[in-house]
Amino acid sequence: MWGGRKLSSSGNRFLGVLRSRCWGTQAEGARLTSSAENQVSWTPQTKPRVFSEYRIMWFKSYRMTFACLNRMKIYRYPWRRLYSTSQTTVDNSEIKTFLALAHRWWDEQGVYAPLHSMNDLRVPFIRDNLLKTVAHHQPGKPLSGMKILDVGCGGGLLSEPLGRLGASVIGIDPVDENIKIAQHHKSFDPVLDKRIEYRACSLEEMVEETAETCDAVVASEVVEHVIDLETFLQCCCQVLKPGGSLFITTINKTQLSYALGIVFSEQIAGIVPKGTHTWEKFVSPEKLESILESNGLSVQTVAGMLYNPLSGYWHWSENTSLNYAAHAVKSTGQEHPVPAEFVFKGETEELRDKDSTNPGLQEELKK
């Protein structure tokens, strides 16, 4: 727990600096609590740069583990959602941690703020790459007609924007509470209610019934929690239609990700509770690529993502040594997989050519 943890001197200094900076937020916090009693008053929403406080809903265990979490919003690291391919590998203590935070999913300035702001990167990434595969799309509903499987959907942070863009989304997560929260959140929007379906299950349980039906599978911030990466990616591939897309965002396995993601976030700043991440489970893009290729998925794009904790925004980057996003396409059978290229805006013509030859080839195969 926080009190019992031994901090280095630099950590103490860092905390001291932050505490003095946070002092102003205590006054705001008092205002917040008093105004919360007035049901009708509006409580301030603040930009990520300003510290916000949530004294109202405070679980004891949460406070102990995340004492500094809410006061130190400077260095935020993306929150990982728990995923595992089988129920027996789920870690109960991690479940408890996530359960304590389950109600926080939809607080845009809260614990999951980095995930909310990551949508600014991942939704266009998914949308633009999917739009390349269609000749024309409906304005207002660019993804309409597409079936997307969101693996490890958590509270539905990514499922909802995809649903708003017109796609039919199935969101799955092994944590029941997350599915309940996601279900509850979408129930208020009649349009989303029809387009999104949530299920508390694992990917393997889905494979039989959804084999080769999805236009896209999204596994965002998931593969670094999976026990058996190869089986997981194999299942993703099975669920995809030929020519379907797989989108993955995760963390690279480098010295930098160890330094920032484990040492700094967990041990020094206490942003992420100790033991949430195992550096050994981080996946490098090269390893990911080799597994994807061996499963018949050809990697189209790998792009680095960088989080600026001061502004709270994510940016695309050439550097993939921390976070990165990958887009792979399932081969259509007779096609040779396109060699991996690190391109940002893909080769539209190439893909279109490929697609146009597909039906021709498939007809030939049938004969």
């Binding site: 007035n38 008053s41 509006w42 409580t43 939809w106 949308r127 304005p139 207002g140």
Partner: protein, 469 residues
């Protein structure tokens, strides 16, 4: 002064006294109504209707449901009335671009408008003047009657009625705001109760209901405002003889600025801001006396003093020496012969600026966010600028599948517009105060200042560019 108007995100919990009907509103629990509108625009004036139109024609809003609430009746014209309306607006090129982006400008062109190419602004207490014009004599702006703009917007709204629903004679009486974060069973949407008792739900409420905005008051947003001790008198004037009439004239009298805006070859619109007593007098006096007063206001040099005249001619000769082409001779506006019956109206003036333009699921545009003196002709242009900016941000958010009421893009709109509007508001207020006096030192200062600004073309171009956005 700009400091007072500038953004400070101080949000003290509003006092219960200012709550009004909201105190009795309960949080909506559980019950889910049939339609959740994506955007509701409260207020169907020039800016509100333009907002609804712009969203309705936006490509990324094809799947969305938009509602416009207007308390008044629908204004329909079978054909354009012959008499010109007395309420006109000076539309900047930027606003014209916005209006043409959803096809309303074409309707305006088919009805009537007047382009002006030059603007002369001069002082009553001295010879100083400033002449604005574009190098190639392009249109600097357009004078359009408010009714004509409204009609064009209504026509465009009708054309897109599958996406935009307009409710006339509907006034919102109370609003219920969502909690900052989701709590069990509380609706995350804004609920609006109308006068007839029906309720609406929306993901984003846009307040465009004028300077006494009900939306702004219900949200408890602080508003910095004060009333000027001035009222504006408007009228439609007939000129003595037909002229090309493509110049806008404005003279700063000690009592307030008087402006003549071209409407046609023989007609011009008057906007005269003056003290309340004088304004009442002007509206009451008989036609001949009124016309004489206007003419002498533009022509008379009674307020000139020898001291100021000689001081200004000194600077004038210096400017003439340094930049001979930049000396502008003072021209006189066309003389007025008659005034349209029943076209004389007055309305009070004031300044206002909301401390925050946005809250979660709420945005303020137009006069609800800012109210300005008409001396710079910027009021509705600032509102149209708000519309442009907000539509740009909402469109990008919709294309990213974002929740429309999310603060992340609303704060982008607020930052954009507060920067622009605060500067303009401060400048206009400063100008108004500066020109309200006939004390010699200040007159001298402003005389020299105006002459110097007139001589420095880059500065003039900057001013024009800022005002035409």
């Amino acid at each position: 002064m700009a400091g007072r108007l500038a953004v400070s995100r101080w949000r003290a919990a509003p006092s219960a006294a200012g709550r009004g009907p909201l105190l009795s509103c309960r949080r909506w629990s559980g019950a889910k109504a049939d339609t959740v509108y994506d955007v509701v625009v409260s207020g169907g004036g020039l800016v509100g209707a333009a907002m609804a139109c712009a969203l309705g024609y936006d490509i990324h809003f094809h799947d969305k449901k938009i509602l416009l609430l207007e308390a008044g009746p629908k204004k329909v014209w079978e054909k354009l009335p012959e008499t010109y309306s007395n309420r006109v607006s000076s539309i900047s090129p930027g606003s014209a671009t916005l209006l043409s982006s959803f096809g309303a400008w074409d309707h305006i062109c088919n009805m009537r408008y007047r382009a002006f190419r030059r603007m002369q602004v001069w002082d009553a207490c001295s010879e100083a003047l400033i002449m604005f014009d574009k190098d190639n004599l392009d249109d600097m702006g357009y004078i359009v009657e408010n009714d004509v703009i409204m009609c064009a917007l209504t026509k465009q709204l009708e054309a897109v009625s599958d996406r935009v629903t307009v409710l006339y004679r509907s006034k919102a009486v109370s609003y219920t705001w969502p909690y900052p974060f989701t709590m069990a069973d509380s609706s995350p949407w804004v609920h609006i109760t109308l006068g007839d008792g029906s309720t609406l739900q929306t993901k984003l409420l846009i307040g465009a209901d004028g300077h006494n905005s009900g939306v702004r008051q219900a949200a408890g947003i602080k508003n910095v405002s004060w009333n000027y001790d001035q009222s504006a008198v408007v009228a439609t004037l007939h000129l003595s003889e037909a002229t090309e009439n493509n110049v806008a004239w404005q003279r700063f009298l000690p009592s307030g600025p008087i402006a003549l805006l071209p409407l046609s070859d023989t007609l011009s619109s008057l906007v005269w801001s003056t003290s309340h007593e004088h304004a009442a007098e002007l509206v009451g006096m008989d036609e001949e006396k009124f016309v004489d007063t206007i003419n002498s206001a533009f022509w008379s040099d009674a307020n000139h003093t020898d001291f100021i005249d000689s001081a200004s001619s000194v600077l004038q000769s210096v400017v003439g020496f340094l930049r001979p082409t930049k000396v502008s001779a003072r021209q006189l506006p066309p003389s007025v012969a008659r005034v349209d019956a029943r076209s004389r109206v007055l309305f009070p003036l004031g300044l206002g600026h909301a401390a925050e333009y946005v809250r979660p699921r709420l945005a303020l545009i137009g006069d609800a966010a800012h109210r300005v003196h008409p001396l710079a002709g910027q009021g509705v242009n600032m509102g149209f600028g708000d519309v442009s900016s907000l539509v740009h941000h909402l469109s990008a958010a919709a294309f990213n599948g974002k929740d429309l009421g999310s603060m992340s893009h609303l704060t982008g709109y607020e930052t954009d517009r507060q920067r622009h509007n605060t500067a303009l508001l401060a400048a206009t207020d400063l100008l108004k105060r500066f020109y309200s006096t006939s004390a010699a030192p200040l007159v001298l200062l402003r005389t020299w200042g105006l002459q110097a600004t007139n001589a420095v073309s880059p500065l003039k171009e900057q001013i024009m560019a800022f005002a035409s956005k």
